[in-house]
Symmetry: C2
Subunit: 220 residues, 2 copies
């Protein structure tokens, strides 16, 4: 299905892919094998016409009145989001969460690899822990460049998050996943993705409290 990557998708369509993929996986887990654009619109809150147009960019994925095959859509969308090259990742912050990420190291995806680890704790710097040499943030640019890093993950707590992100941005990294929920300021060309577990949990509780009779299909 490599051909899907050849055509550059409209940005608006691309932005909806993760949303589509997430909801398709939930549909699949509930045993749904086919979905009509009208019903998928109900779930995703994206207009059905937009869904049909988006899907049309990806080739012949469905037939009028018959709906789309859920597992085929998942396969196509996963393929589009997949990366063909190995992505080398710098991990900043080696507390419990950092250790969990380093230890797991996205092992189910062979193209995602944490290759270097940073912390500002003097007791950790220069030590090798769980197979990773811990570097200081002063060394970030040098070590990241040497490792061919293009992506960074920060688990640095909010109060020091901006400082850590600044160092990452100064090293030329443009893709950053941040586990500190407070928004940091970055240049326009930098892509930030926040993982805000408190908000995720509050959203879950909100739905559980207010809409328990019908299951949550996650949209955010």
């Amino acid at each position: 299905m490599e051909e899907h990557k050849e055509k550059k998708l409209p940005r608006a369509t691309a932005k909806r892919l993760p949303l589509y993929l997430r909801n398709l996986k939930i549909l699949e887990s509930t045993g749904e094998t086919r979905i009509k654009s009208k019903d998928f619109s109900e779930i995703t809150q994206i207009p059905a016409a937009t869904i049909r147009r988006d899907f049309s960019y990806l080739g012949e994925l469905g037939r009028s009145g018959y709906g789309y095959d859920v597992s085929y859509l998942i396969e196509v969308f996963s393929d589009i989001l997949a990366t063909d090259d190995e992505k080398r990742i710098a991990l900043v912050g080696f507390g419990n969460l950092g250790k969990a990420l380093a230890n797991n190291n996205f092992r189910r995806n062979e193209n995602l690899k944490i290759t270097c680890v940073f912390d500002n704790n003097p007791e950790l710097i220069g030590k090798e822990i769980a197979g990773f040499m811990i570097h200081s943030m002063e060394e970030f640019k040098t070590v990241a460049e040497k490792n061919g890093v293009t992506v960074a993950i920060s688990t640095v707590p909010s109060q020091h998050s901006q400082e850590a992100i600044n160092t990452i941005v100064d090293a030329g990294i443009t893709a950053i996943m941040n586990f500190a929920p407070d928004r940091v300021i970055v240049p326009k060309h930098v892509n930030m993705r926040y993982i805000d577990l408190t908000t995720e949990l509050l959203t879950l509780i909100f739905f559980d409290n207010h809409y328990q009779k019908r299951p949550l299909v996650t949209i955010s």
Copy 2:
């Protein structure tokens, strides 16, 4: 702003709140103070008329042609999602990720509290670690009930995830956050929220590769 909670929001509106909130926070971090429904529609891919209708359920949040105040919207939406009661959380799986969650324990939100911890590792069961007594999964129902638990977080790896979730569901818990990305089967009344860090990272990389000139505004 308690009055916002009194009226029950339409389910479709409620489903969009986390999406709105996440994008408003990103807008705020880029320095935007006001947003028009048309522009917010461009960001969220929700039709502007739907946005205006959704916001109208929340009272007088904006004026025609003038737009909505970003920080006020964040305040209102955060308030709606906030929980007034203490929510007691069972944590299942006490590896690095479990430890990170227990250690952090949502400390910035006084109403979210991990009160009991479970693991099936015989070397951990019965020990007190980081202030938590580790219980076996056999004790889940008894301990969870004694602790007044209504929410569970599972960090159990995919291959044992279904088993762990079954135990949680059998104890009557209907709100579960799951860090294993593989979909598990749960009864219709159970609200599951998956945190799939690999997909989050792939989405970030996808945008960074294909759309680097313009920043990502996360929608999924």
